[in-house]
Symmetry: D2
């Protein structure tokens, strides 16, 4: 475990990409390859079993592996050497068949695909959970009025339900994207030295099919050693996901500011406290999410850049993926797990929302009044009139309603009660309800689709 | 037209994102909004027509617009003002209804969606054309042997058909991605001041539906002013596409090196010549593609980063999209159009490929010999023996076959003719044919799906 | 002018990188090259004059140039052709000497250096002006108490002067960096076909020296066609600068939030208004700065990435610089000019700052009380006591002072007046004054250094 | 040690940023703070010693620390808690003074500065060593002719000395940049809760000065908690450095291609071998450098992006630095160490360079002939004539000299011997010698400056 894993990553995904798990996945490939070879008669079942029996990470000298990789240029070469030596001790015959027909990149890429499959399952699980939490939040606050803010300025009323529905809506699209990714991504890498499987001769297809079956992976049309769109796509789909989580966290931290105080991350002893300021309750969960949103785009760009790999094996650009892909998964999973926590425990303060709705001296209802005046006097004139009244409101620090009530164009249009009624947030929510309904409906359908 | 548009962009896509076309798309939104309003009785048909009649880019003072945008913070505000003034001259009544119920971002985002729809159609058209060109290239060279290179070193034999099939395979996946993108991306943006459509009251849904119909766009569950995953996804899908084009161009420029000379970009007078070196024939098309592959990842990262937009309207991050999205489309389209040209006119030199197959003194057949010896002596021993023979080959500058023929382990295994036969590229191509077949089959299916 | 130039760029720098100015700079190189040739007797003075006379951008057919560049792969080749044809009409003899000894990249890079020199002068001018504005702001508000915020939560008191001094401090470092950049960046590019100046034979050094003199550029040790650290450094130094401007803008927009209201961007008719909400006053200047801070890092990364250029001329990666470098300068200059405006016109609201200091019910003085109690009871115990009191303060919505006054440990330590005195912001400002003094002193020294 | 540290990092720098070393650096800060407090009489010398005695990483429960950091939001809070508890066991009095006056970020940032100082010393040491290796390479090959390549096509002759001098020239500028960075970067971070040092009252400056002295760091004008230009600058300066290393590695791998074979990375048993192809000798060192050049730009962009930190403590963006900065140092140091190795052991093959000079049938001398003909017939005509002759050369596969010798314009200009003499690489090297001289001279001066 890295020191900052509990802060930035999820336990599950950090585990999947741990050194031991990564090496084990490479050994899983070698074991499956041996079994596949046996299944087509390329090697004996006994040899396959002898190889398989040694394919345990505990058997490796990982420190020696690390140093050998510095010379070899990748981990697979010394791993295969160590494995071969182990098998030799038990069965010199079997040793001859270790890694038969495969190249280093076959091992490394397939192991990565297996890890990405496990990690994506975790991330999708969190995404589903997050959608559930968000749906509940939307339901609970569909009628909680608050102020909408554009350019970080109070604009017009909305509800907290609408805001949360926006977060949910994006997350539903990410679930779609994650699903679409699967068929392209969960495929075997198996091409031999340079992508022709020549070393396996006529048995190549048989071995490839058996190997894919063993690992429960799809068999691609052709090896993809230097066609990295699959890997880069995984990075970008996760980056999109993190971007939306970052938007949600950005909204929440803005709401948790002392002066706004409309929401807060739940605290608990030891969480979010300050080393010097005993009263502080820091939004740690959101900070973690925002840190991911700050870092993942650059990592995704690296994966996109690294796609221009040379001929049949990339030189440097392939290497650039090795630590970048796990990092993207780690940060995404960490952000996702935190998001579930933040939303689950979010403390919403409707009374503060209500208080902030009053903070602009009625200016957030300027549009409502404009639209009410527009049918009578035309929108341009109404707009102009409200601009004037808004200016007076600001300079005199009076309520817009009072300023308006003294203007004769307004008097001509409304009596006092009608004017006052225009300043009710709950009556100026437009299609909020319908929007929420549509999003919740889609969430419901996503779940039905999921369980099928 | 920008000075470097013909070099870096495609004519079609540069046109779609030209200043005039961009402003016209915003005016198209305003005209459609007026018609939508009329269709639900919000405004009169006459007013809608009066507004629509003025929605022509020729009516705008674009210079004034540009300066006003610097103060307003976006183009839509001064555009609506100019439009309103124009309509006022003709019909003061109609002027009152310009932009009714919409916010600046509704105009700007929807116009962008319309442009992206047109631009993606162009890019997909090019992608289809590129797949056709690549299929033909694969077919023509399925039997053209060449050397496969890993780490930029000669490795084992392959065919040019396999290499080109790899390029085609990736492009087929990009067509899938582009198709999946459509339903998410081609939707209306319409939320009014802060996403509730409150200004339109009960007629909001009717106007929204009519507006979507007018513009032939989908109606999203909820406005998405600060949920930017749709836009960022467009950027990343194009970036993936450019990455694969870059890989193809990288391969080609490596092949066109004077010392390799296995392929060349077709020249024509004025194309690829040097200002000082009359003999030069520069791969200009590939340079353009590689430039795109160098630039688009950073732009995609910007779009991903910009997703954390505040509350109901982004501040700075939304603005960051405005020039970035068109740039991504421009560079992608330019790279795509060049790729079609490069592949269509590519000059392939099979004789040079053949000559380069001979350049390693037989070393590229080391694996073939290893695999032939392995059944007899075990792979580790075979591998070791070939390492030794390879060293001697290099140090003595003799042919591997000759070195091997003097080793008694080899003599024991093969007679001279059998040994010689191991050095035939065409007999060491493994599953090349099947891989090519599978990819071409998928290309065929993609076309059938496309035309349905 | 581009439609969004007035919004995102500065007039001066957009002018410097306009198409006409860019082409003129290339022609300036050709004219200077001719004069340099004449000065060492390589060509006649008459020929140099004939060439120089044609080196005016008005003489070019820029549209033809744009299309020719698409084939040629750069603008210099067709530009030299057009220029040569023009010279031929006047003096066929002189035409023979156009571009003598230079390569396309010599023209393009040197023109770029000349533009960067002009643009950096503009940016430095703005930086100096910004430092003056900031110094004044610091002076005016060195004693204006406000709340410091960590994790976007109220923390302890500070002054607005300290905050602004932080902005100023960074900007002073950027002026240093910009100055250090100059000697490395303002150098000639002149290497001929592949960096040896072979075509000029023995006169090469003479021409190079004369050319550098003509253009008032340094003469580098060796041509740097594919050593791009100079160009990339310019990009990163500007990116650092934009990052600090972004930090300043981020602070300001947080202060301008309706609920905080401690500062606001000055409005004027047409500036920052909303299309639908007449009362809105949007921080347009800060949005422009933040948009730059969002975009420039990705562009800088592109320049860094593009450094791995091949052999003696980059392929694609050099091309990737052409639009990226001007974009970085444009966005930086735009952000800088806006920053000057924003700071010059910034409306600071000390009364709101004061009001916000009271908003936490005294919690922002928790540290002050802790430190006052610590000498007596030890810091851990004091910290614990304040944590407890803070909790009670929050749950009971009472003032921390009142909660504390009831705790006997506190009563034991302070009388009521002494306790009350701990809640004075102006008495808990620590070294604020000294910090401000040091920064202003450095600002003063920077100006003295500048004028020397 | 991470599994891929020996491959991608340097031992020294991986050690400096190891978990243990990082935590120790934070403890070093706490110990120094205690001593500084004692030096101004804030705490007793005995307390300072008691604290200092516990400041050993072995005393920490790092696993507990990691989990606590997930709640606390950073490592410093739980570290201070653990330290305080340890001190309490020994001296409850002293425990009260642990971390006195400091905030978490003071600890974390100062520890980072100390690590960066150590790591930069390592990187500069490597840079100096690399310059020495490069100087020797330049000297050894100042007269080794080879072909210069533009657009990856053979262009004109140059020498390997000139190419290596270009690499050296860039590295000398990086040494300058690294030196300039020092005074800005090696400063204390010490501001207390929110940058005013209020908790230390009148003794603040005394403590700060003593603390800076203790740690041998500069004392900045003002704390820089959210002014991150220093940190981001370190990232960009290293990124520039890596970019130039990447350019060098790119050149070398292009030279090591089987078909070019002008250079090769030295092999040794276990280095660069292939798992399937016994004859392969992969340029592992260059791959590592290129991987760094692929990754660091995105990481630098993250640091640039993360500069817009909020108010007095960043939220998420500061967190984004924590793993990014060490990664940049690790990759840079790894690339640097590999570069030293690659250059030190580089095998240069002058005979292959010579052979490749002949590969174009004389076309690389086209410019030389053009320039020789130009004085007589004018450059345009000469250029045109050579274009024609080049075409014939290519289509007829004859030598350019032979083609030219049959053209009467050429016969008129030269006799056979004079024509032949134009095809000597060593006579068409222009200012190569002077360029090399200038660069070596600067390298010499850099060393003198260094030792002063």
């Amino acid at each position: 475990m890295q020191l900052l894993d509990p802060l930035f990553g999820s336990e599950a995904v950090c585990g999947i990409f741990s050194e031991a798990a990564s090496l084990q996945r490479m050994l899983d490939f070698e074991a499956a390859l041996a079994r596949a070879g046996a299944s087509v008669g390329l090697i004996t079942v006994a040899a396959a079993e002898a190889i398989g029996a040694q394919c345990r990470v505990e058997n490796l000298d990982t420190k020696a592996l690390a140093f050998a990789a510095a010379d070899a240029g990748n981990l697979a070469i010394p791993l295969v050497k160590q494995l071969t030596r182990r098998v030799e001790l038990v069965s010199p015959d079997a040793a001859a068949y270790v890694h038969w027909g495969a190249t280093s990149q076959d091992v490394i890429d397939t192991a990565l695909v297996l890890q990405m499959r496990d990690a994506l399952a975790e991330i999708e699980r969190s995404a589903v959970e997050l959608c559930h939490q968000l749906s509940e939040l939307v339901l609970n606050h569909r009628g909680t009025p608050m102020v909408a803010r554009t350019w970080m300025q109070q604009a017009v009323p909305t509800t907290f339900g609408v805001k949360a529905a926006g977060w949910l809506d994006a997350m539903l699209r990410h679930r779609e994207r994650l699903a679409e990714l699967r068929t392209r991504l969960f495929v075997l890498q198996f091409g031999g030295a340079a992508g022709t499987l020549a070393a396996l001769g006529k048995r190549a297809q048989g071995v490839a099919e058996a190997l894919a079956r063993e690992l429960k992976l799809g068999l691609p049309e052709i090896p993809w050693h230097t066609q990295r769109d699959r890997v880069a796509e995984a990075g970008t789909v996760l980056a999109l996901c993190v971007g939306s989580l970052g938007k949600m966290a950005r909204d929440i931290v803005l709401l948790t500011q002392t002066e706004v105080a409309e929401a807060s991350e739940a605290g608990r002893p030891g969480k979010g406290g300050s080393s010097t300021m005993p009263h502080k309750q820091n939004p740690v969960g959101c900070a973690v999410i925002l840190a991911a949103a700050e870092r993942v785009p650059g990592l995704a760009a690296t994966l996109l850049h690294a796609m221009t790999q040379e001929h049949e094996r990339g030189l440097g650009n392939w290497h650039a993926e090795w630590e970048t892909v796990p990092e993207v998964f780690r940060l995404t999973s960490g952000a996702m797990v935190r998001a579930v926590e933040v939303i689950r425990d979010l403390q919403v303060h409707p009374e503060a929302m209500r208080a902030n709705l009053d903070k602009s001296n009625g200016l957030i209802f300027a549009e409502a009044v404009t639209m009410a005046l527009a049918p009578g006097m035309g929108k341009p004139k109404a707009h102009q009139l409200l601009e004037e009244a808004s200016r007076v409101t600001v300079s005199s620090n009076r309520h817009l309603r009072d300023v308006l009530s003294e203007m004769h164009e307004v008097q001509a249009a409304f009596d006092k009660a009608s004017l006052g009624a225009l300043f009710e947030a709950k009556d100026y929510l437009g299609s909020s309800e319908q929007f929420i309904e549509s999003v919740l409906q889609r969430a419901h359908e996503a779940d039905k689709k999921n369980t099928r």
